[in-house]
Subunit: 350 residues, 2 copies
């Protein structure tokens, strides 16, 4: 079945000037896909008028009368902006008019709206934010990256199930390995929540590797790394901060004087190839995982290439049936767990 | 008063072949300092015999009959190895024969032994591990980096007080800014512990900047960043993993073929200058902060330059009176806090 992706065309720092060209590039790359671009009619039609590609025929426009601001409190966006481009895009998924939705807008608002409109899948207490990070071996999917600041062991188990389903679908790995982010490899390390989670994971039937440490993310030790949203968010932001600093230091050294600038010219192809390998735009798109619908959050500052990749990701997740896989894996894990855990379902007690 | 540093000469991956030459370099750099090298007599005297420097006259040898292994459980090291080089080195501080001690051995064992032998300073529930990280602006001191996986708001406040005392002493900053590591800048972000900690910090009289995020560490937004040991350890290890991966990717690109290798030759001075700027050996030495004695943990794989820097750090902390500063600041914070907090002291309720 051809997949239709609903696009919050107003979201992000650049709005339709990025989201529409990105949608065109996505449609050119995936000939059977369709896009519904949601937003204020005037800027949307103006931006669309500038586009010449025949792929334009596969873009439909859906009107929305307002826009969620980047720093608007999520609760306000949810309660007061019922006709925002973000809300209308999520509604399209709810109504079955689209199989996935992508927004570069306010993360908190997107999560609040998606949870309210779509609800979570059976067995999922709360959605998690999952994203791929580049590693020495390829990519690792890390979750949660910031949606849940306090997680029970049962919730972390659910994240492991969801991450496994996502990676098996999108990366075509049959039994992805799962690592539990901790501060040491030994079983005795970590806090009580992590220790209890390890016990659940051992009994889950998932391909549980054991504890991993922060450096294992970039070593690519496991296909999936599970952690609570506080820890995951700190790991992600710390990585962004360090990568940005190293990039700027390298640039500063190469532009220090005429001699170093000459070296930069000679080294340019090498530096460019290095930059391509770790270009964050290649990994743009975080999945709001555990909802009854595919929702992908693009970085707010995404350019056309980056936003296109978020669209590709949303398309792949819908086309590969991530939601069905989560449901199946959740049921299988449920069946594999000891009686007490199974009777209590995989839900948190609270 | 001249400072004597006790050195666990057996600790780390290389033992006396690194620790003694590093001690010499340290003594050459700090003419009034003295070192007591602790370890098995035979390898110690053999390593010392190879050294020619006149600074050798300021190294005394203290015998120990055993060595704590790198992966030995800390409880075993504490209970069974009462004559380990690590234990004897810490004892020298306890007995007033040294003002500071440095070990590149097992972190958990060093913490357990130091707590047992030296005890904590008044008002300090548990010691924290503090270290400097390079930033865009200079350095930032982050704590805790892994000693405490569950922290109360009161403990996090104590870390802030200790970090402030450390930075004011060693970096000569009168009122260092303190950031609370969180997943957003707004007050409503984070878990309950972090929110309560923010309230304590606001009332503490410290120079509290507010919440900071992971990327603020490398931006150098604040002089001190406070977090619990689980989060801090993940941030540190994630950083190490990412830096290592980027280094290897850059190296791989520059050694891909004869052309890129030529580019590497041209770019060599630039790359070297870049590498020097972020060389982790420059920042080697994590302080076990909050003890009644200066204890510095060197990286286990430290080379001579790195271990020398750990010795310099220990010396500076003793010479600048970090312990007295912590005591003074702890009392001042105590006085600044509202009655309830003051009455309950700064100790955790538990």
């Amino acid at each position: 079945m051809p997949v239709t992706v609903a696009v919050d065309a107003m979201g992000g720092d650049h709005g339709p000037s990025v989201t529409l060209p990105a949608a065109i590039e996505f449609l050119e790359a995936v000939p059977e896909a369709r896009v519904v671009a949601v937003g204020l009619l005037e800027p949307l039609t103006a931006a669309l008028a500038k586009i010449k590609s025949p792929a334009k025929a596969r873009i439909a426009i859906e009107a929305a009368s307002e826009v969620v601001e980047m720093h608007e409190p999520p609760a306000d966006a949810l309660r007061r902006k019922k006709d925002s481009s973000m809300r209308v895009a999520v509604n399209l998924v709810k109504d079955g008019r689209a199989e996935a939705c992508v927004s570069a807008g306010n993360t908190g608002a997107l999560m609040a709206i998606s949870r309210f409109v779509l609800k979570t899948l059976p067995g999922v207490d709360r959605p998690a934010i999952a994203s791929q990070l580049p590693t020495r071996k390829g990519v690792t999917t890390v979750l949660d990256l910031g949606a849940n600041v306090n997680c029970s062991p049962e919730q972390l188990l659910q994240f492991a199930v969801m991450g496994t389903a996502l990676v098996s679908a999108v990366d075509h790995i049959d039994r992805p390995t799962v690592g539990l982010l901790n501060i040491g490899e030994e079983d005795i390390k970590g806090n009580d929540v992590v220790k209890e989670t390890a016990e659940l994971l051992k009994a889950s039937g998932l391909n549980f590797h054991g504890n991993v440490e922060g450096d294992d993310i970039y070593k690519g030790t496991t296909d999936v790394v599970v952690c609570d949203g506080f820890v995951g968010n700190v790991a992600l932001k710390t990585s962004e901060g360090l990568a940005g600093m190293l990039y700027d230091f390298l640039k500063a050294e190469f532009t220090r004087n005429p001699l170093t600038r000459l070296a930069a010219v000679v080294a340019y192809p090498v530096l460019k190839s290095f930059g391509r390998r770790i270009d964050p735009r290649r990994y743009n798109g975080a999945t709001l995982l555990g909802l009854k619908g595919v929702v992908v959050k693009s970085h707010g500052g995404a350019d056309v290439m980056a936003f296109r990749n978020a669209l590709m990701k949303a398309h792949a997740e819908a086309a590969e049936g991530v939601l069905e896989r989560i449901a199946t894996r959740m049921a299988a894990t449920h069946a594999a767990m000891p009686a007490t855990a199974a009777n209590g379902s995989l839900s948190a007690d609270a």
